[in-house]
């Protein structure tokens, strides 16, 4: 009803969406990585309610994650082909930054510290010093397979199998890859935690104000935690159920529980969005512990979410969800990309009013 509008992008990826990211600052560029081995670059025109496909960047294998670098012309990708790549979005040049020994699951760029962190199923993190691309990345061994990675201004949260969560201090990581640093010893995690959720972690997102982070699991639940490990702060953490649906009575009732595939914090208001296998996107006020909004159901599972740097746009990647027992999967023809222009106070929490 308000000026909030939502539109579907005309040329979505051919197959399932793995991740999406808006450019830094006021950039209207949107990168989408897909299982169809391509990374798509869109330009969202303000007001005209459309996003045009600028170009695509083909990879050797499906791309599991994508992020922007320091400028809107620089991107990094994580591929199933074990490679972490840098892409020059203007020229289309692709440079291999490092090679893991398994598929690379996530990449995160920290603009504050000019380092790129990649996480791979070979149970390592690679920390790249972007200012010194010739320098080999620093490998940090992990106790489990990483499934989600997120960075706040000073912290890096790595969620792994067996419900492990490690938090690294980004300045320490940056210091370790500084060429003048004598040691190049992999730094120890700043904190080691166990996930508050009882099931496999699905997504992690950090609060833009550096206070904490949210994690979600395959079992329709989201937890909000704080970095500060004082008992008072830790007592504030909480978790809640979401992205569930009552099963029809004739199927035995109860709930159908969907995975929460994606989390994204609003860069301005500090509220966050969650996207689930039930095809819904909900906006939450982490402070007031309230759901602010739940948008109309999308035709398929929500795979990825991302706010633009100014918080005016929310991109929603929609494709069929992988479910237990599936022996075949294809997102072909059912993958869609929506962009929602948020009303001024749409994502504003009650607490900050």
């Amino acid at each position: 009803m308000a000026p909030a509008t939502q539109f579907e992008v005309a040329q979505p990826p051919q197959d399932a969406i793995s991740a999406l990211a808006f450019g830094p600052g006021t950039s209207r560029r949107l990168l989408v990585s897909s299982w169809d081995k391509n990374v798509y670059l869109y330009e969202v025109s303000s007001g005209a309610e459309e996003a045009t496909l600028v170009r695509t960047f083909e990879h050797r294998a499906p791309v599991l994650d994508v992020c922007f670098g320091a400028s809107p012309d620089e991107a990094y990708t994580a591929g199933i082909d074990h490679q972490v790549k840098k892409i020059d979005l203007a020229t289309g040049d692709q440079t291999v930054l490092s090679k893991h020994s398994e598929a690379v699951r996530c990449v995160v760029f920290s603009a504050q510290h000019s380092i790129l962190i990649s996480a791979s199923w070979d149970c390592t993190l690679h920390v790249h010093n972007i200012s010194h691309p010739s320098q080999p990345p620093l490998a940090i061994p992990l106790p489990g397979k990483p499934h989600a990675l997120a960075a706040s201004p000073t912290k890096l949260v790595v969620a792994m199998t067996a419900r492990l969560v490690h938090i690294y201090d980004l300045p320490a990581l940056a210091a370790a890859v500084d060429p003048s640093s004598p040691s190049r010893q992999p730094p120890q995690p700043w904190q080691q935690r166990e996930s508050s959720l009882k099931f496999l972690t699905r997504a992690v997102a950090c609060m833009p104000n550096d206070a904490g982070y949210a994690t979600s699991s395959i079992e329709g639940r989201v937890a909000v935690e704080w970095f500060d490990d004082s008992p008072e702060s830790q007592a504030r953490k909480y978790a809640f159920k979401c992205h569930r649906q009552a099963a029809p009575e004739d199927e035995g009732g109860g709930d159908i529980v969907y995975p929460v595939n994606s989390l994204a914090f609003h860069p301005v208001h500090g509220t966050f969005a969650s996207g689930g296998g039930d095809g819904t996107v909900a906006l939450w006020d982490a402070e007031a512990k309230r759901r602010m909004r739940q948008y109309q159901r999308f035709p398929e599972s929500v795979a990825a979410l991302g706010f633009s740097g100014d918080g005016r746009l929310l991109a929603i990647g929609v494709c069929p969800g992988f479910e237990t027992g599936m022996e075949d999967y294809s997102g072909e023809g059912r993958t869609k990309l929506f962009i929602r222009e948020l009303g001024e106070s749409e994502a504003k929490g009650k607490g900050s009013k």
């Binding site: 009803m1 308000a2 000026p3 399932a16 299982w35 294998a61 499906p62 599991l64 591929g79 199933i80 082909d81 074990h82 598929a103 699951r105 199923w121 397979k145 499934h147 199998t161 067996a162 166990e194 508050s196 009882k198 099931f199 496999l200 395959i218 329709g220 937890a223 007592a235 953490k237 909480y238 978790a239 809640f240 159920k241 569930r244 099963a247 009575e249 004739d250 199927e251 035995g252 009732g253 109860g254 709930d255 159908i256 529980v257 969907y258 995975p259 296998g277 512990k289 969800g321 992988f322 479910e323 237990t324 027992g325 075949d328 999967y329 294809s330 009303g343 001024e344 106070s345 749409e346």
Partner: protein, 350 residues
């Protein structure tokens, strides 16, 4: 619907509850309904002001924000129109009112029938003993013996087929074979993680659900592994005593024939019986008969085996949740990456 709070209210009470035209939710009293409508349907998206009616909100939007209200928020798809002026229960069109009452009445009677089926209690005010649901439970020893014979014959056939290396025959759909709630050759299912998680809560991690959610997990749905939904008609041949039409019907606790028990079966001692072991088969058949004679539903059987299930297997059965993705070690992406469609094989040259 709030029914659980006070046992099972009678139909008059249910019909008297005020309910919301826009979302069909019902409330304890009118005041609650009105505050619900103000908060959910008549709240201005721009400034948060709560209006009394959709018309009021429309005027407000027009005058204050210079915008036009298109539809009522959070409404059911066909109820979001601005043409009807609703305040509390006032203004609800007669036909919608009738529809709602119909629905309530229907729900009430199906729920009641279901309860009677489950408990075996006669409806209120009637002499007990011969409810319609009760009749189905009755099975003569002859019938049971007949089923037993048929079942043994089938097992023998399966065994023979397995010995010949041929794919085992699928279950006949003629309604004569017992325990056909699920296909006998169910592929192994990943373990259902609920009971374990419920028994061993995370130490030192207080999870405070902010929205009134229970801190623990809901009791498992009879602690069944979440089997695939049964093929159409698969529940029909289930010739045991009547059971409520629940999802659990698709996964009876007994897996006969060559099918392997699902790993991590929560019952502790999986009662699945290898087809080659005829004596053991006889034992569990006998148990089945004893159960049938005692009028015990087979669903209750695993409760005997697993102590932690005893609490959940009975009346809380309905509360069970089914996870769309239940693998707690391997992420969906890893599974997808293993599919031939997406798999990456390092070429020899590289």
């Amino acid at each position: 619907m709030g029914k659980k709070k006070r046992g099972h209210p009678d139909i008059e009470e249910l019909l008297a509850r005020p309910w919301c035209y826009y979302c069909e939710r019902d409330f304890e009293d009118l005041k609650l309904l009105i505050s619900h409508q103000k908060a959910k349907h008549f709240k201005c998206e721009r400034c948060g002001k709560r209006l009394n009616t959709a018309g009021g909100l429309s005027v407000h939007m027009n005058q204050v924000h210079k915008e036009t209200l298109q539809c009522v928020e959070n409404a059911l798809p066909n109820r979001s129109g601005l043409d009807v002026e609703i305040f509390g229960m006032e203004g609800v069109p007669e036909d919608i009112l009738q529809q709602h009452n119909q629905r309530i009445i229907q729900n009430f009677y199906t729920a009641q029938a279901e309860r009677q089926k489950v408990t075996g209690n006669p409806p209120r005010g009637q002499a007990g003993g011969h409810g319609p649901a009760k009749k189905i439970k009755y099975e003569t020893p002859e019938e049971i013996k007949k089923r037993l014979a048929e079942h043994r014959a089938k097992l023998a056939a399966q065994k023979a087929a397995a010995a010949n290396g041929a794919p085992p025959p699928t279950a006949p759909a003629d309604g004569s074979a017992p325990a056909q709630g699920a296909p006998p050759f169910l592929p192994p299912q990943p373990g259902y993680p609920y009971p374990a998680a419920g028994v061993a809560p995370v130490p030192g991690v207080p999870v405070v659900p902010p929205y009134g959610a229970a801190p623990g997990f809901p009791a498992p749905a009879g602690a069944f592994p979440p089997g695939p939904s049964p093929p159409p008609g698969a529940t029909a041949p289930f010739a045991l005593p009547a059971r409520p039409p629940s999802g659990a019907a698709g996964a009876p606790p007994y897996f006969y024939g060559a099918g392997a028990p699902p790993p991590g079966y929560p019952g502790g001692a999986p009662p699945a019986v290898p087809a080659s072991d005829a004596a053991a088969t006889g034992d569990s058949i006998d148990q089945l008969i004893r159960m049938a004679e005692a009028g015990i539903k087979p669903a209750a059987a695993p409760a005997k085996n697993g102590a932690e299930e005893a609490a959940g297997a009975g009346e809380k059965k309905k509360k069970g949740a089914r996870m769309v993705y239940a693998d707690t070690d391997v992420s969906p992406e890893e599974k997808m990456a293993m599919l031939p469609r997406y798999r990456w094989v390092e070429s020899a040259a590289a």
